[in-house]
Amino acid sequence: MITIKNLHASIGDKEILKGINLEIKAGEIHAIMGPNGSGKSTLASVLAGREDYEVTQGEVIFNGKNLLDLAAEDRAREGLFLAFQYPVEIPGVSNINFLKTALNEIRAYHGQEEMPAKDFLALVKEKQKLVELDGKLTNRSVNEGFSGGEKKRNEIFQMAMLNPKLAVLDETDSGLDIDALRIVATGVNALKSKDNAFVVITHYQRLLDYIVPDFVHILYNGKIVRSGGKELALELEAKGYDEIKKQFESLEK
């Protein structure tokens, strides 16, 4: 699905990603954990094509294509989806118009015709139900005045609508109450198939109780410093990052 090799990225003079290597196959779920400021969101943004970051080294192959050569919109059209840690409010653009535009531009990219309005509305209904999103929200402006939890649920709703190959969920669990957490997880599990993959960025084990990862990686100071199975998350939950930080500091010396 995606192969990330020795990825370095900076903003201004500051290097944030310092050589990331990661291989994700179809059908897998990967969790990325790590302390605040370690570079998790940066990795997600770089993959999605945010231009504020400069990739200084490395390559990313996404389904046989050189991802870093593609504009952000083409990455999405190729099937990459980023659920933002901080979803953006866009006053005046209705959720529904936004999704219709997105869906149809993705279809056009693949040489498909616009989705008939009837089918589109049926799809909206179906996916709304999946993530138990209040129908009123879909008619409002994108994320405008949404509560923190509503914004996160809206991200999952968009993901369900666009049906990506690889979805990166950046702290989609933060700010969610227990019910919402379950709903988001149900949504992800319903969409999960042998043809797609998920990267779940999180600080907490509790999401991983619902979305069980095949691999867990710890990102620290711009690098993946440890990888393991789902038990690694439990270990972290118990011990925290102290050990890793110490190891790292002694390495630096």
Binding site: E73, R77, F84, F98, T101, E105, Q158
Partner: protein
């Protein structure tokens, strides 16, 4: 240093005098005042405070060196008509009865200026002072064959009136459309004024409208300007509102090489209300300059202004909003807001609120903001597969909506929305 006086006004007078029809509906005294004012003051350049960003003298010198007045006959305007409105057509400043719809609306009277009786003729020029502005003077001296539109007391027009001003020439030309619109006591009307320019020659349109809103009357007015590269215009609306009267105007400017709007509203009695909304998009070297004046003369009135600009390429947008609260105008509420998006580094916006307040118990506020397109939002849209161009369109559309949504005539709103999206 004494600035050398420009002779542009004299040149214009010389060039168009020979072809101009005699203006028989304005008395000689006012005509000579107009000419004298023009000769003395000239066409304003950027040294003139009110035309600081709008050097019209310069534009005349550059773009209208050879005014030849080869005006075209226009015989078909079907494509511009709205289905559910009564259309009145003005070609090169002159009302065309043959192109206009029959006046079947109850309570509506239209009289060509020349057919007004002596008393009624006095209405022409009673609001727009010839000695206040060069373009009022110019229009007065060479006024086109306009009309007086009257909506009778207590009548509510069943249909909007769509006045289509068509400019068309095969040479450089100057035209001076003019009208007087009068709403009687308790009358209500919706009037759409649309300006287009369709010939091969550049036309300078110097438009003047005097609007009387009677006691407890309501005038909903839309101005739609889409003249293209050959269109240059100065448009003066001089409005007076009476007790409990209400005046709403929404002006949308989509194209035109030069568009200067002077929208002057006098809240002349107690408890009246005025709203001015504007949306303009500019590109290339265009200049769109909106000057508004809210003149609060009496207590308990309210005014509200919202102007939005989208400025691209090397174009320039101007919003100058003057609010004048006279000493008798206690309990005035006056608000003004101007918001702009610059789409290029070479684009310019000049905004200036001017509040002159001589009463003490008033609520006035103004706000202005200028920014670029929100790149964070663009990225969010990109990340969902929406390309840069469509993302920009969605965001600009969202920006414009606040103004476009003020248009209550669906057909007009859809038309403007379509054209607006094409302009982006």
């Amino acid at each position: 240093m004494i600035a050398e006086k420009s002779n542009t006004a004299q040149l214009i007078i010389d060039k168009i005098s020979s072809t101009a029809e005699k203006v028989d509906f304005i008395d000689n005294d006012r005509l000579s005042k107009a000419l004298l004012y023009l000769e003395n003051k000239g066409i304003p350049n950027n040294k003139h405070e009110d035309y600081k960003y709008c050097n019209i003298d310069g534009i005349f010198k550059k773009e209208f060196k050879n005014i030849e007045q080869k005006l075209n006959v226009v015989s078909d305007v079907a494509q511009y008509k709205l289905k559910d409105a009564l259309t009145l057509v003005v070609v090169n400043g002159n009302y065309s009865e043959s192109l206009s719809d029959k006046l079947i609306l109850k309570g509506l009277h239209l009289t060509a200026f020349s057919n007004l009786d002596k008393e009624e003729k006095k209405l022409i020029g009673s609001l727009a002072n010839v000695e206040s502005d060069a373009f009022i003077a110019l229009n007065t001296a060479f006024s086109g064959a306009g009309f007086h539109l009257k909506i009778e007391d207590n009548e509510q027009l069943q249909m909007p009136i769509h006045i289509l001003y068509v400019s068309s020439a095969n040479s450089e030309a100057l035209v001076n459309p003019r009208n007087v619109i009068e709403l009687g006591k308790n009358a209500e009307a919706t009037i759409i004024e649309e300006q287009i320019c369709i010939g091969t020659g550049k036309v300078f349109t110097n438009f003047l409208s005097e609007k009387f809103v009677g006691e407890n009357a309501k005038l909903t007015s839309y101005t739609f300007q889409n003249e293209g590269a050959n269109g240059f215009s100065v448009n003066t609306n001089q409005v007076t509102i009476n007790r409990y009267g209400k005046y709403d105007n929404t002006t949308v400017t989509l194209s035109g090489s030069l568009v200067r709007n002077n929208h002057n509203v006098v809240l002349a009695a107690q408890n009246c209300e005025a709203h001015l909304n504007g949306l303009f998009t500019t590109k290339n070297n265009q200049l769109v300059d909106n000057h508004t004046l809210m003149d609060h003369q009496m207590p308990n009135c309210e005014s509200n202004e919202l102007y939005k600009g989208i400025i691209n390429d090397k174009s320039t947008g101007v919003f100058n909003g003057k609010i004048y609260v006279r000493k008798d105008a206690q309990k005035t509420n006056a608000y003004q807001s101007s918001k702009n998006i610059l789409l290029s580094d070479d684009a310019t916006i000049n905004t200036k609120p001017q509040l002159e307040i001589y009463a003490d118990d008033v609520k006035c506020s103004h706000g202005t903001s200028t920014g670029k397109i929100d790149e964070v939002a663009v990225f969010y849209l990109n990340a969902r597969g929406i390309g840069r161009e469509s993302a920009k369109k969605l965001l600009l559309n969202a920006f414009a909506q606040e103004v476009i949504n003020k248009i209550e005539v669906d057909e007009l709103k859809d038309k403007i929305l379509n054209l607006f999206e094409n302009e982006l």
